[in-house]
Symmetry: C2
Subunit: 423 residues, 2 copies
């Protein structure tokens, strides 16, 4: 008998009908002879409504209390889901993150899982129950306070439980059919990927693909837990994410897995930096001290006449204010002329392990962009990824051009429904 962990996002359990539909699917997995553990997110807009309430009582809600508040969301969905399953004649018990043994550090609102001790889940399974676990939440190791894992936390809960319970697979149910070669809202001919390696999936997630978050894939790779991303609305096979293709189906690793894009970043250029050792270090120490994560970094060639250079980097738009403030505060120590802030940029990334052994990939990528009339502002590469920054307006056309150039277009003209994935 296999053990399966299934995760359902907020859009799959948005209302009573959704909960009943999901309950039927869970019971099917149980009937197929599996032990089933289900991780569930809060219903539809519950989390947003709770955040709205918090903002009404306090402009800066305390982290501990904010987590206590938000975790009410999964408590509701998991209890309702257990009831719906029992109503179908099967035994089910719901467990909070704390009860399920999801132990985290104490960083409220974005805690990290440091251990999973699923003793109560094992007992529930051994007694014939389907175990329903609240996603997104845990309990801190030191203070025993309730914590939340931040965006995409429910996926991480599911993978962490799958690892701790040595599950055969972690199924992530969402409102799309799987991982696509590009965002189907932008590229109508995007194809569903049948199988993708952890490494390529990590690069896609880091480059703007929203189906799975980086942290969740990283966790799955570390413990070698196969993930199956699929739709909770259809019965179709989705995308397998694993170290090796699974099952009898022979899947060859594609040269290129897909094209990702991201318009959530901004670019800051530090203008007139003295071209001497330690300057870049001073800038990025300032940024790091402000707890800002940066993405791409480029230093321009110094103008010989002035001995000054410009340094550009990209970062989430939401962190822009913080970074600018920190740099301005430290301007005397760093020494630069001015700052330029540009939030009208976009990033296009080509991801595929095959590019390691196919030297023409980079050239083809730039040619495709050039043919589409897209100007490149920054370039960054890893072993299995090339990313460029362009004007935000150019992104859709650039993604389509690259997708076609690498032969990723589907033969079918069928439109694919694609939406957000909740948390």
């Amino acid at each position: 008998m296999g053990l399966v962990v299934q995760k359902y996002g907020g859009s799959s359990v948005a209302d009573a009908e959704g909960i009943k539909r999901v309950a039927k699917r869970i019971v099917e997995a149980k009937k197929n002879g599996n032990q089933v553990v289900v991780v569930v997110s809060a219903m539809g807009d519950t989390t947003d409504e709770l955040i709205d309430l918090a903002e009404q009582v306090s402009p800066m809600p305390a982290g501990r209390e904010f987590d206590m508040l938000l975790t009410a969301g999964e408590r509701i969905s998991m209890a309702l889901l257990a009831m719906a399953i029992k109503n179908l004649g099967h035994e089910a018990q719901s467990f909070t993150g704390s009860q399920a043994g999801v132990i985290t550090d104490s960083v409220h609102n974005k805690a990290r899982i440091i251990d999973v001790t699923p003793g109560r889940i094992r007992t529930a399974l051994d007694e014939g129950n389907i175990a329903i676990v609240a996603g997104f939440q845990g309990v801190s190791a030191d203070k025993k306070d309730i914590t939340t894992l931040g965006r995409g936390g429910s996926d991480t809960t599911a993978v962490a439980l799958a690892a701790a319970l040595d599950a055969e697979v972690c199924e992530i149910y969402t409102d799309v059919d799987g991982v696509f070669t590009a965002d189907p809202r932008v590229v109508k001919k995007a194809r569903k990927i049948d199988w993708i390696s952890f490494e390529d999936m990590l690069e896609l997630a880091a480059s703007g693909s929203k189906v799975l978050l980086h942290r969740c894939v990283e966790y799955a790779r570390r413990y070698n837990i196969p993930i199956h991303v699929r739709s909770s609305f259809s019965g179709l096979q989705g995308t397998w994410v694993s170290s090796q293709p699974i099952g009898d189906k022979k899947v060859e690793q594609a040269i290129i897995s897909g094209v990702a894009h991201d318009t959530s970043e901004a670019k800051i250029t530090v203008v007139g930096v003295p071209d001497k050792p330690g300057e870049a270090a001073a800038i990025f120490r300032t940024i790091a001290d402000a707890q800002v994560n940066i993405d791409m970094v480029v230093q321009n060639v110094s103008a010989a006449a002035t001995g000054l250079t410009d340094i550009s980097f990209t970062l989430p738009k939401t962190e822009g204010r913080k970074a600018i403030d920190a740099l301005e505060r430290n301007r005397p120590g760093i020494g630069f002329d001015s700052l330029r802030y540009d939030d009208q940029i976009g990033k296009i990334s080509l991801v595929g392990a095959g590019m390691k052994t196919n030297p023409g990939v980079t050239a083809s990528f730039f040619e495709a962009l050039s043919d589409a009339g897209v100007n490149i502002e920054l370039i960054s590469t890893s072993e299995i990824r090339i990313s460029v920054v362009t004007r935000a307006d150019d992104v859709p056309e650039a993604v389509r051009a690259v997708h076609t150039a690498f032969g990723l277009d589907s033969d079918s003209d069928e439109a694919v429904v694609y939406g957000g994935t909740g948390r």
Copy 2:
């Protein structure tokens, strides 16, 4: 420095404004030099909305999951209240029933508190925090499952915590000014009671007064915790419930504390019962086995000619169906002719320790009812209470007549606002 436990009902924290108003009141108590523990119910209609959701997914929600669901309500209100207090510049931490050490038996939906181990609350207080505790909920001693205490459970949580923490007083904040000599919706001249003994309060609660529930008062009496029932909307002194009057104010025990009424009961008459030993026992064993609580019992004088008698008893209307079914099932064993069910009855009770030493009270009570033209159907008495059953339609007039006859009418004509008390 004193320790005060305050409890706020759902109507006091119905929205963000209510939560902020309550937060100010709590901070005042803290500023007055007290250690403050706050027990809070779910916001306004939250519980009803959750029950509605449960009914949408399952006609008979399982007790364990139903409790898991409902406890989300206090989680939301307590986290918001802690945020609102912190926003006023004071430290606050919220705790679930489980975290606060409220240990119960395993009877889901109406668990009983069997122990309170408030170690985390003590620590939070010692660190200078205001401790916010979820009312209505606990954790079962054996299975560590989340439980709820049933109707009025938040009041019981507050009294139990006050006892475990050896608090000076348990303040129950509600949407009325205190306990009244009668329901002000029925008797415009009802007076607020300044002080009432535990014993009289217990009888009032058992007789239909809804401000405090019987179980909560019983708990307070056992541990001798003074209760102060007061309005969260006004700053007025409310009603003290304790073994002895508190403070410098000399309060004399009134002969009569008040008049309570109850129209939530029905009457079942078992007709044609053989007048021989064991018959009444068979009837009430049947009722008890069906888990039905009964209130008053009357056996009519047997008609000599037939050797048959009638037995009448009252019970909550909500239990009527269950009792009738149980009796019908056991009719062959018990032996009776028929059952009569009457849900158009009302009960009027006069409560006061003074009636023990004032023999005229019973006579005056019956005279007042007679003068008002009210017919009495059943009578039941305790040492400090007289109750009669009448037609439901007669109840308002009967209550007013008795209230006036015993000199309880207020001199003021001011209308008193009176509403429900939440859970």
